[in-house]
């Protein structure tokens, strides 16, 4: 399968997602990219099946008295693309710190 060639911003977002930042706002904060870049890029990545989105369970959110959020996960193809992007842009690995649980 051909690995899709990603733009620098898309690669940075994919890298952030693969490191455990799974919400749009988290990705914005950790990458420093404006929201006008992050959210449409997430849509494109989802359309290209590099990421998939899910809704947080409603009960979990209600228990914490907050609305359920949509979170993103990297697919198997996305992981391959993220690896290829890190090889293409070696500095990516240093730009995004791993998420502390």
């Amino acid at each position: 399968m051909n690995t899709p060639r990603l733009s620098h911003s898309a690669a940075l977002i994919l890298k952030a997602l693969s490191l455990g930042y799974c919400f749009g706002l988290d990705v914005m904060e950790v990458t420093g990219l404006p929201s006008g870049t992050v959210y449409p890029a997430l849509r494109r990545l989802e359309r290209d099946e590099l990421v998939e989105s899910r809704w947080e369970p409603e009960e979990e959110a209600t228990a914490k008295q907050r609305p359920a959020r949509r979170y993103y996960e990297v697919t198997r193809e996305g992981k391959t693309a993220a690896l290829a992007a890190t090889q293409r842009y070696p500095l990516l690995a240093h730009l995004v710190p791993e998420k502390r649980s």
């Binding site: 749009g24 404006p34 929201s35 959210y39 849509r43 228990a63 008295q65 609305p67 959020r69």
Partner: protein, 284 residues
């Protein structure tokens, strides 16, 4: 333990969401609105805990919200219009308008452009039938065998679209040649006139070849571009069995089989109408 509903969003955010959600396609509106309400809610609560100024974050997130809605809208248009006859004709029309605008800018106004265009239009009009004849005669167009139904209405629709497309291509070729040659017309009028005709002929030939190829690879019913080209067979089997490419209609109307090589038993491309059940499958 009782669970309270989350606190409502500020008035500005709610109004912004209500306004922008009209841009989002109806089918995706509810989910979009839910996702953004959650993002805004978390942004406000996170900012409060981090004690940072929310104004810049709200502004940034509002821009993201608008871009996200616009992306969904344009993506929906892309999915609806991609490969349609409407998109093809409107793209050609848009390019013609752009060429006219460039010519207007180059000449400085309609008063000086109008006589120039009318002088050269007649010359191009004379050359056009010849160019069309040469394009048709030299095109490596394969005969397409109609597999089953030969609906007269579909045939009229196809020919009408083809006629409009060819007219648009010729108009565009004329306008582009005018854009290129008009700037040198004042200094070298004879050379500019000759170049204008030459450019028109070249652009028209290239455009018409594209139009013919595009017409071949469209559905014979809905005139949409055929998609998902798939190689079938092997080159080594060329003399024994089918070897070529199959293109499908996205609506499931039919498929076009294009042989890789013309053989005595398979000289032409073949259009095969599919069973109506394929249309249901395609819509899913």
């Amino acid at each position: 333990m009782s669970h309270q509903p989350p606190a409502p969003l500020p008035l500005f955010d709610r109004n912004l969401l209500c306004i922008v959600e009209r841009v989002v396609p109806f089918a995706e509106r509810e989910e979009w609105s839910r996702a953004w309400r959650a993002e805004f809610w978390h942004m406000h609560h996170r900012s409060r805990s981090h004690r940072i100024q929310t104004l810049s974050v709200v502004t940034d997130l509002s821009i993201g919200l608008i871009w996200d809605a616009l992306w969904l809208r344009t993506d929906s248009w892309r999915r609806t219009l991609s490969g349609t006859a409407t998109l093809c004709i409107s793209s050609l029309l848009g390019l013609s308008l752009l060429s006219t605008l460039i010519a207007l800018v180059l000449t400085g106004g309609w008063h000086s452009l109008s006589p120039y265009l009318s002088d050269h239009f007649n010359l191009s009009l004379l050359a056009a039938p010849l160019v069309v004849f040469v394009a048709f005669a030299t095109a490596s167009r394969r005969h397409i065998e109609q597999g089953s139904t030969n609906n007269r209405l579909y045939w009229i629709k196809r020919q009408l679209f083809f006629a409009v497309k060819i007219s648009q291509v010729l108009l565009l070729a004329f306008l582009l040649s005018a854009d290129l040659c008009q700037p040198i017309h004042t200094a070298l009028p004879n050379t500019a006139d000759f170049l204008q005709v030459l450019c028109f002929v070249i652009f028209a030939l290239v455009g018409l070849r594209w139009a013919l190829r595009d017409q071949e690879q469209r559905c014979k019913q809905c005139v949409q571009s055929l998609a998902t080209p798939m190689r079938v067979g092997r080159p080594s089997h060329n003399l024994l069995e089918w070897n070529g490419t199959e293109l499908n209609c996205k609506q499931g109307h039919g498929l076009l089989s294009v042989p890789e090589m013309e053989t005595s038993w398979c000289q032409s491309s073949q259009w095969v109408d599919l069973d109506p059940s394929w249309e249901q499958a395609a819509s899913v």
